[in-house]
């Protein structure tokens, strides 16, 4: 699973935006790499630029300086090798559940798949995500957790090597989120993907990841890189161990310090 082969590399990445109030420096000289099989989480205060980092890996934006590379080549645009999960799900409301899952399979990029292959993939994820009974339903009838599972199924259906997630569980209630964590761990264990997760939940980051990056207040730098030593497959009993809680508390403390810094920044801005 997890290896030392570098796949996505952030090399001295900086990002600035021109705003009406002047230049806003969002990311400063950040370097890190996502290795094959990693589940890497980026935690940090809201507004610190985590989403910008994910948008760079996805190919939606390019850094002002430095480079974001995939296997040594700069990332220029989005592609089906990097699946993205958005906080707002992005489930297509005009398509049924199974049509949503099949969306990527019916594009030109998947033209070498025949109808039977496509159906097999759709059926597989319908079952895996517990959506089989809703295959012909429109998303408006689904709960938030089901929409999130549908988005995950649609992302997985096109067989991406990477899954980039931007606060995907942020809008879910606590129980649904917990169930989604376990589902995600199961599916990842079965399929072995490389994941980059943006989250503000420290607990989520520690439970899911093998590596946690604590991102500082704006402009984003890496405050700390913490290896999470627990073996996969994991289950919820892990969350009751003292080791888990010690790590969580430690990361939480770091994040809270950055949170305070970010708050001070916001206050300063209001005064100015």
């Amino acid at each position: 699973m997890q290896t030392n082969k570098e796949r996505i590399v952030f090399d001295n990445v900086s990002m600035q935006f021109d705003t009406p109030g002047g230049v806003l420096e969002v990311v400063r000289d950040m370097s890190f790499s996502v290795n094959q099989g990693d589940f890497i989480s980026l935690v940090g205060p809201s507004g610190c630029g985590k989403t910008t980092l994910m948008n760079m890996a996805a190919g939606f934006v390019k850094p002002t300086s430095g480079a974001v590379m995939l296997d040594g080549k700069p990332i220029e645009q989005p592609g089906p090798d990097r699946g993205v999960m958005f906080q707002e799900y992005g489930v297509f409301p005009w398509l049924t559940v199974e049509q949503n899952i099949a969306f990527g399979l019916n594009l030109k990029v998947s033209k070498n798949l025949n109808a039977a292959d496509k159906k097999a993939i759709v059926d597989r994820y319908l079952n895996l995500m517990g959506l089989a009974d809703f295959s012909k339903a429109f998303p408006k009838t689904l709960s938030g957790g089901m929409k999130q599972r549908l988005a995950l199924a649609r992302t997985y259906a096109v067989r991406p090597e990477f899954v980039l997630m931007d606060e995907p569980f942020g809008a879910l209630d606590a129980q649904t989120r917990s169930a989604m964590h376990d589902l995600l761990l199961d599916v990842l264990y079965a399929e072995g993907k490389t994941v980059m997760l943006i989250t503000h939940s420290v607990e989520e980051a520690v439970y899911l990841s093998n590596k946690v990056l604590i991102i500082s207040a704006r402009p984003s730098r890496i405050r700390e890189v913490i290896d999470i030593p627990f073996a996969y497959p994991r289950n919820r009993s892990l969350q009751e161990t003292p080791e888990f809680n010690a790590l969580r508390a430690r990361i939480h403390n770091s994040v809270m310090q950055e949170y305070a810094a970010q708050e001070a920044l916001a206050k300063e801005k209001r005064v100015a």
């Binding site: 089906p80 699946g83 958005f86 992005g90 030109k108 990029v109 998303p139």
Partner: protein, 261 residues
Amino acid sequence: MAKAIRSSNRLGNLAWSVFPFICLIAVWMLVHASGWISPALLPSPLEVLQTFWTHLTQGGLLVNMAMSIQRVVGGLLLGMLLAVPIGFLIGWYKPIRRFVDPLVNFFRALPPIALIPLVIVYFGIGEMAKIAILFYASFFAAVIVMYEGMNQISPVYIRVAKTLGATDMEIFLKVMVPMTVPHMLTALRVALGVAWATLVAAELVAAQEGLGAMIQNASAFFDLRAIYVGIICIGAIALLMDVAIRKLSNRLISWQDRAGE
């Protein structure tokens, strides 16, 4: 059981959409019978019905209706035909949206009726003039609705499609088009209303045939009953067309999540 409930609901819905009209007619009859208003100024519903029948059988009411409907549908179709691609252009290319924005806001405020004298100067009073004014009216009504709709479309769907590997063409056909269908139908409904209003105004000013012309001619002869017939016909036809579009919408966009459902 469920079916029985549904069909009784449908009957109930029908009753509820007819009942207000029955009340309106009842009030009309009462006012007429009470004698508050001179019978010369307010014909009774029954008299209007009789006039309706004579006009239908001998007065060329059908021709007038056909003319009006033909103009509305013709102008509406032409307007929509241009409004839909323009709507897409505005939604797709930001620079175009920027360019069009102030223009749209100007034309939004300008009632099409204000252009009728100009149209008469340019196109005369023939069919061409009516189609031109209706085309203008429905085009702008539709483009404005499309424009507002395209502004509301969430960019996340386009991003999702991109990450799944969609080309620009695929994003357009598989994401933009289906997302726009509800706005197109709304645009059609709004344009229909505007087209009717404009048509009658155009026919009042200059036309030989059509419901508006019929009203205008009747008013020259102080034929109040015929005026009422014309007004009621316009309202009824516009309402029926609106109901038809709504039915079509319900079928085409059953996926939409509407509040209160």
